[in-house]
């Protein structure tokens, strides 16, 4: 992972910092377009609120997420417990706010894992071509032959059910899609003059990929990764619902829904609100991703 840190910094510097300062750069214009998109901005604001809640959940919630209070068990929403309480009398609002941390972690970490290996494989396949490309592409085809949630399930079943393994599994299941995207993008730019020039002055292959190639395919990767976070949150919630990840009393949203089935007939609030939380989070990520795609699209088309 460490060798990618300078790469990431270079990508961020070239794409974000340089271009934000330069008012005529495509990235600057794209972010300007993004700022005008109502949907994307709503998504971004909700997401920022969620991130804030996730970081400071201990301080913003009135109760402790694992505080058992049998007297208050299965109370419907009220002034004291806005979203009701569960079978142990724990406050559901508190548990859902704490759950934001787990879900965002699953989304971000699994995309980081999937993106790391997917970008690596895709860049190598696209840049070197030939039999390297052939082998990696066949490997990707094989991974794509499994429906992604089943691939994730298979990985979890091998690694054993656990929250971190779940992130690895969801990450692995997104590797082929990342690799395909990056391979295509690298293929489309690798014949450009600046790559040829970099080769001519004797840059190493690694340097060409990291410094000259990746920054130039930053836009499609950013868009895809954002949308992939939404997919990963959903997949993570599904696997947690199946009991393949977090263990009680962790307040994970999918797990909360699984637990709600014990009180299905008596406590509608337990089955409703965690799902609403998942939906709001995923919608906001999707809105941001759609906005990013539209904002960057003219640039992609011009290439």
């Amino acid at each position: 992972m460490l060798i990618w840190t300078p790469a990431l910094l270079i990508v961020i510097k070239i794409n974000v910092i340089d271009f934000l300062i330069d008012k005529n750069s495509p990235t600057h214009l794209a972010f300007k377009r993004l700022a005008k998109k109502k949907g994307a901005m709503i998504g971004l604001i909700i997401l920022l609120v969620l991130i804030f809640l996730a970081i400071f959940s201990e301080y913003v919630t009135p109760y402790k997420y694992d505080k058992i209070n049998p007297v208050m068990a299965l109370r419907p929403p009220s002034m004291v417990h806005p979203l009701g309480t569960d079978g142990f009398g724990r406050d559901q609002l508190t548990r859902i706010i704490h759950g934001a941390r787990v879900s965002l972690q699953v989304g971000i970490i699994s995309v980081a894992i999937g993106g790391f290996f997917g970008i690596l494989l895709g860049a190598i396949a696209g840049y070197w071509g030939g039999w390297t490309d052939e082998i990696i592409s066949r490997f990707i085809d094989i991974m794509l032959a499994f429906p992604s949630i089943l691939l994730a399930l298979a990985v979890v079943s091998v690694l054993g059910p656990d929250l971190f393994n779940l992130m690895v599994a969801v990450g692995v299941s997104s590797v082929p899609a990342f690799a395909r995207l990056v391979r295509g993008a690298v293929l489309s730019i690798k014949e450009n003059d600046y790559i040829v020039a970099a080769k001519a002055i004797g840059c190493s292959n690694t340097k060409i990929i990291v410094v000259h190639t990746l920054p130039n395919i930053f836009a499609p990767i950013l868009v895809f990764a954002t949308l992939q976070v939404a997919t990963a949150i959903l997949a993570g919630a599904s696997l947690n619902f199946l009991g393949m990840g977090a263990r009680p009393p962790t307040p994970e949203w999918g797990l909360l829904l699984a637990e709600s089935r014990d009180f299905f007939r008596r406590a509608w609030w337990l089955a409703t609100f965690p799902g609403v939380a998942i939906m709001i989070t995923v919608i906001s990520v999707n809105l941001l991703g759609d906005g990013l795609r539209d904002a960057f699209d003219p640039w992609l088309k011009n290439k």
């Binding site: 066949r138 032959a145 499994f146 089943l150 399930l153 079943s157 829904l257 299905f264 799902g275 995923v282």
Partner: protein
Amino acid sequence: MIPVFIGVTLAVFLMLHALPGDPVLMMLTEHSGGAAPTVTGTISQEMYDNMREQLGLDKPLYIQYSKFVYDILRGDWGNSFRTQLPVSDMLLRNLPYTIKLALSSLGVAIVLGVILGVLAAIMRHTWVDSLTMTVAVTGVSMPNFWLGIMLLFIFSLSLRWIPAVPPADEWISLILPSIALGFSAAAIIARLVRSSLLEVLHQEYIRTARAKGLSEFFVIMKHALKNSLIPVVTVVGLQFGNLLGGTVIVETVFARPGLGMIMIEGIMEKDFPVVQGSVLFAAIAYMFANFIVDITYAYLDPRITYSDKN
């Protein structure tokens, strides 16, 4: 297709070897009723070796693999660690439920998706369009298991239209699960049909069709829709994989028998041949679905051929 088949079987085969722990000990654990044995403790070296030989684990990997593929092609998918029943029997017994669910949810997805997409496209910039697209964004962002729980709440518990646990053989048991499973695919299809149809409606042959006096209904149904469906077919093919995977989750929500149920049980009980079998089966089914998609392409667009004749 054959290289992918080899790769898929190899991947599933290697899963067993990637497991932490010794499969021989795992099997013996099941035999001895759950107490974890060790070679020197509860079981003798002889028993261990016998079991190892019986499972074929003493042979080199490539021989094990070729035997694995040979057995799969012959229809021998191994025996469950737990029940000792042949995995192929378990799969075949549960398969019809999963296929019915996957196909009916695919039906829900296509019908709902195309109708919503066409409506949104022909009523562009009206409230119908915005409502449909809002439903679509919500649909892709909704976890299918939660939608299933909500449907159970509304239609089984509150309205009492459909029993919460209907007999799995009756068609009524398919309604809620296939909506829960097909809804997000419907949302994806609706968005795609809308944008694809809007693109086609700008084409000149549509103007010609209108100019020669065809009714708007006929223009859309006969001329525009067929040509806008090609990108949709690809997505339907991809979505079929998601639906197949989604059955695992939706079957759990509705407590339906099926591939998903035995897979989840297999993972929970560490019954590995069952997990292997169901994962492999799903992958093969998905491969066939993609194959069918390729054929459908050629049918929808005669320009696409898969030979080098032109």
